[in-house]
Each structure stands twice: as structure tokens, then as C-alpha cells.
Amino acid sequence: MEQDDPSLVRQALAGDPSAFDRLVEIHTARLFRLVRRFAPDEGEAESLVQEAWLRAWQHRRRCSPDRPFFPWLASIATNLTRDAWRKRRPLDFADVGDEIDSAAADEVPLEARLEADEARARLANGVRGLRPEWRVVIALRYDGGLGYAEIAAVLGVPLNTVRTHLRRARAALRRFLEEENA
């Protein structure tokens, strides 16, 4: 019988390693997709995924079966990534306030000029060129499938900061696509 995350987490907390291994089976692909989006290369993405699972096992007592499992796992992976990046260059997830970027950029009918498949492939390239902070937010939102509140919790920033980062990232991607298309 297929078991859901809360019951697997409960079993893992009760000392059943096979339940935790089942969580690994279920969530590794999604975690890799998320981490690969902001890791510089595949090797580092694999290391981060493995390290995130090891940390999750070591700190499993902090995981609650009453809360969704994947955001907790994503927060471990994101923190590991941020630690790795901090060694190279400090990240700035500082509160950027409630300022509203120009919404006009979101309304340009650019999409009509692009083929969808091509656009998706270009978008992936565009995301790789984004600022690391925006790349993390985009990955958590679209690869991890997390809600705004969950992203805010994972990154430890206010909800409005998440909204602003996403809006700016999308605007930057739109500009990228426009330049590519020109």
C-alpha cells in the first residue's frame, strides 16, 4: 500500500530507517530538480542532494509529521547552498520592501512571438544567468512547487520580499527573452 509523507515521517521518527529510505525514493528527483536549478553544475547538485539527505536524517527529530515534508527538506538544501555560496560571495536576501515594480513589463505580449518549447529552453538558460537570490526563489517556486509562504519560511524572509524577488526575477527573464528574440 502506498504510504503518505506524514506516516512515513512518523515511522522514521519511531526508528524505522526503511521509512526514511522510502522518503528518499519519493523526493530525490524533485529535490535534484530544485537544486540543479541553482547549483552551478551537476556534480555540485548531486553533492548537495546527498548532503541534504544526510542532514535530514541527522536532524530528523526536528521534522514534524504535521507539517509538509518537502519544504523542510528544501530548506535544508537551500541553506546548504547558501552556505556554499557565502564562501564565494555573500548573498543578499535582505528585505527589499513592498515597492511594486512596474507591472507593465508583465503585460507585454511577448509570449505570442515565441514558440513555447523554445521559450522553455531559453528560460532555463535565462534562469542560469539570474542573480543567485532570484534563482533560488524561482527554483523553489517552479521546480519545488512551493507556495509563497513556504518559500518565505524556507528562506527566513518576509512574504513581501519573496513576492518582490519573484516579480523582479520574472521581469529580468522577460527582458532576457526580449533580447534573445530581438
Binding site: 546527498q50 536524517w57 522553455r120
Partner: protein, 151 residues
């Protein structure tokens, strides 16, 4: 106007996960668990040795302790309660002084070996209790009774 950028971002192309990544994660977890189990067994063995050493060192001296005689007698407790009711402050003061004298008496009776034994025993039993606590918390958090967990 529906924002197609949002939809495209959700369907962005992504490199496939290496086929053996899940297996590698599980292998590393097995290694981690084996190390944890080894550390736990080594810790248990060290605590067992400390407890036994403490008990062996304490046993001959513990039999000679006389200070225990003044503690715990039923009539003494009744007297103490009566004193406490009549004059609380002097009763508490007297109890504290008796406890200090008793402790000094026990320490004198024990001697260095007994004292070392009692410390070893107390520390190892406390450490064992502390090691047990997270497991009890886990069982409580997951709604599993201690009795049920063992069966």
C-alpha cells in the same frame, strides 16, 4: 491576460536526475546509520564499564555508611512535620544543617574510593538517562507508548 511566462517557468526544461543518485543517497545513509550505531554501542559499553567500576568501588564503603540511619525513618518524618508546622523557619534551617552534616558524614564514611565510585555511578547513570530521553520524546511525539514500542 493569462501570464504564459508563469506556465513556461513551471515547465522549464531540466537535466534528468542521474539514475543512481537515489541509490547513492541510500548507500551514504546506510553508512551514516552504521557509524551512529557503532558510536551508540561504544557509548553504551563505556557507560556500562563506568557504572560497574563505580558500583564495585562504592559497594564496600556503602555498607559502612552510618549517616543513612538518620534519614527516612517514619517517626522522624512525623516529628519533622510537627516541627515544620509549629515553627517553619527553624525546622527548615535545622533540616538544611542536618543534610549538610549528613553529606559530610557520608563523604567521610565513603573515603576516596567510595567517593570516586559514587561519582562514576552518578555520572554514568545520568548519562544513560539523558541518552534515553530523546527516544522517550520520539515515542511521545509519534504517539507510540513505551510499552508498545518494545513489542
Amino acid at each position: 491576460m493569462p501570464d504564459r511566462l508563469d506556465a513556461w517557468l513551471s515547465e522549464m526544461s531540466s537535466p534528468p536526475m542521474p539514475a543512481d543518485l537515489g541509490a547513492r543517497v541510500r548507500a551514504r545513509l546506510r553508512g551514516q546509520r552504521a557509524r551512529e550505531a557503532w558510536r551508540r554501542r561504544a557509548g553504551d559499553a563505556a557507560l556500562l564499564v563506568a557504572s560497574l567500576t563505580g558500583a564495585v568501588a562504592l559497594w564496600p564503603q556503602a555498607r559502612a555508611i552510618t549517616a543513612w540511619d538518620s534519614v527516612g525513618a517514619l517517626d522522624a518524618s512525623a516529628n519533622w512535620l510537627a516541627n515544620l508546622a509549629a515553627a517553619p523557619a527553624p525546622a527548615v534551617w535545622q533540616t538544611a544543617r542536618s543534610a549538610l552534616d549528613g553529606a559530610a558524614g557520608i563523604a567521610a564514611d565513603l573515603g576516596p574510593a567510595g567517593l570516586l565510585g559514587s561519582i562514576l555511578l552518578a555520572v554514568s547513570l545520568s548519562a544513560w538517562l539523558l541518552r534515553l530521553l530523546p527516544r522517550l520524546e520520539d515515542a511521545g511525539a509519534t504517539g507510540i507508548s513505551i510499552q508498545g514500542a518494545g513489542t
